[in-house]
């Protein structure tokens, strides 16, 4: 019975807690911070390239997300990762804190540094163009 009460409350609270946003808002914000226009081509290049600055087990974003962001990826532990492209997975790129957390981790794992705002805008531009 308890769940019947909690569920509507959660649904009400969700938009507040999740800092909801949209891919285009994210692109707009990161572009404003970067001061350059986002480029889907540069985003794709960053995403699919092999890098050397990061941790040896994760040379590329595609290590976990796969080459096609419209399809599911696979973590190194065998756990599937839902597709990144918003068209294939509408929940993607709708939560600023979540996006920031994973850019922080993943850029550090793959590049050995934080991604710049411009790079983030590029990647999101590419992902939402698919």
């Amino acid at each position: 019975m308890k769940y019947l009460l909690i569920l509507p409350l959660c649904l009400l609270a969700a938009p507040l807690a999740a800092q909801s946003t949209t891919p285009s808002d994210l692109i707009a914000n990161y572009t404003a911070e970067a001061g350059v226009a986002a480029s889907a081509e540069r985003g794709q290049a960053l995403f699919t390239a092999s890098h050397t600055g990061g941790k040896p087990d994760t040379p590329s974003c595609t290590t976990c997300h796969g080459a096609d962001p419209r399809a599911a990826g696979l973590a190194r532990t065998g756990k599937p990762i839902e597709p990144l492209a918003p068209l294939a997975n509408p929940e993607r790129l709708t939560d600023l804190k979540f996006v920031e957390k994973w850019f922080g981790r993943n850029c550090n794992s793959v590049l050995g540094r934080d991604c710049t705002s411009a790079e983030k805008a590029d990647v999101i531009a590419w992902l939402s163009s698919l």
Binding site: K55, T77, G78, N108, S109
Partner: protein, 376 residues
């Protein structure tokens, strides 16, 4: 022990009933259940536990019924007919005493008693292990070390039982040769050739209704007592996962249960999330602190489970992860390496692919199932 008929030699040997239908049914059903229990126990992996237990309990039930029949059955079913004083057993074994026993001979009687006793002890030690180690069944709140000791004894008794069964088979073949009769066939047909000078023993009438009544009474008592009746075992792993932990620590893998590791292992792991098994899994300080506290509060020391006893303490000393610890690899040595690499498992650390209850921390053998590779 001789009677009038034994002095005259008949031309065509008369066959007499020795083993009644219940003794024969008992014997062959016991053969079947012990075969299943031995194959599942010695040869098959832990995921066969349910069949192993069913077959084992069947063997115990059969022996209990046979013990009752040993007091209430017909002549040759009775203990009084085949359990004899040590001196008689000895003189039979040394061959001093001749004469054929229509029922079990004195040495065979000792073997019967031994086999039945071992089967009963295997049942008790098995239930102790099920209770103390796997924390289920009628003895589910036995302390873990008692259950573990029970399992050790269980394994030793199982080997002993195998040896005794081999001896029993060898003796049956030997006796068949020596007395020129097929004892195995007698256990099927129930009859033996009557010969002059046979030890037949004191004739007894069976009391089937009293026996049936007793056996049914015991069966009802057992079905009432054996299930654990929904009692929760002492030392169960925490069932409700902390929300932050469940959110943050299940993105890249299943949420490894806090009871798998010690508090100090969790502290060390949580202090190094920036470089977590070759990945950055960093969190903000408040979330890190909250998850660390929760993990430490429900660590291996708070539970009495098999995985906690096996894995806790392996990290940081001899192994980086559970999957490269000695104990983990020993447990999984019969799982072919390629199974871990192929779909849908992909990795040894993907415990939940094969252990349906991995996130509960139990890793019970009742929930092991290696998934089939999906056809492309």
């Amino acid at each position: 022990m001789t009677d009038a008929t034994t002095t005259e030699i008949s031309i065509r040997p008369e066959r007499v009933r020795v083993w009644d239908i219940w003794v024969r049914l008992f014997h062959w059903l016991l053969v079947a259940s012990i075969t299943i229990v031995a194959v599942t126990g010695f040869l098959f992996d832990a995921s066969w536990i349910a069949l192993h237990i069913v077959a084992g309990l069947s063997a115990v039930a059969l022996v209990v019924a046979r013990v009752i029949w040993g007091f209430l059955g017909p002549t040759h079913a009775r203990f009084a007919n085949f359990l004899r004083r040590p001196a008689v057993v000895l003189s039979h074994l040394t061959g001093k005493e001749s004469g054929r026993y229509l029922g079990h001979n004195p040495a065979g009687g000792v073997m019967m008693l031994g086999l039945m006793g071992i089967v009963l002890m295997l049942g008790v030690t098995g239930l102790a292990g099920l209770g103390g180690v796997l924390r289920t069944g009628p003895l589910l709140s036995l302390p873990y070390p008692v259950g573990a000791a029970g399992l050790e004894i269980h394994e030793a008794l199982a080997v002993l039982l195998l040896v005794m069964i081999l001896a029993h088979i060898a003796a049956a073949i030997f006796e068949s040769r020596r007395s020129r009769e097929n004892l195995v066939r007698s256990m099927l047909s129930g009859t033996k050739e009557s010969r002059p000078g046979d030890h037949t023993g004191h004739p007894e009438r069976a009391r089937p209704f009293i026996a049936l009544f007793l056996i049914l009474g015991l069966a009802v008592t057992a079905t009432l007592l054996l299930p654990n009746g929904g009692r929760a075992p002492v030392g169960a792993p925490v069932a409700e996962l902390d929300a932050s932990f469940d959110d943050e620590c299940s993105a890249c893998h299943l949420a490894y249960h806090p009871s798998l590791l010690t508090g100090s292992e969790w502290r060390a792991l949580m202090a190094g999330l920036e470089d977590h098994y070759g990945e950055d899994a960093s969190l903000d300080p408040e979330t890190t602190a909250r998850i660390t506290d929760w993990l430490v509060a429900h660590d291996a020391a708070t539970v009495q489970t098999r995985p906690a006893r096996m894995f806790a303490g392996t990290l940081g000393t001899s192994a980086v992860s559970m999957t490269d610890s000695r104990v983990w690899n020993h447990l999984h040595e019969d799982v072919r390496e390629e199974i871990f690499l192929r779909a849908p498992v992909y990795s040894k650390s993907n415990c939940s692919a094969c252990h349906g209850d991995a996130e509960t921390g139990w890793f019970s053998p009742f929930h092991i199932q290696i998934p089939k590779e999906p056809s492309k």
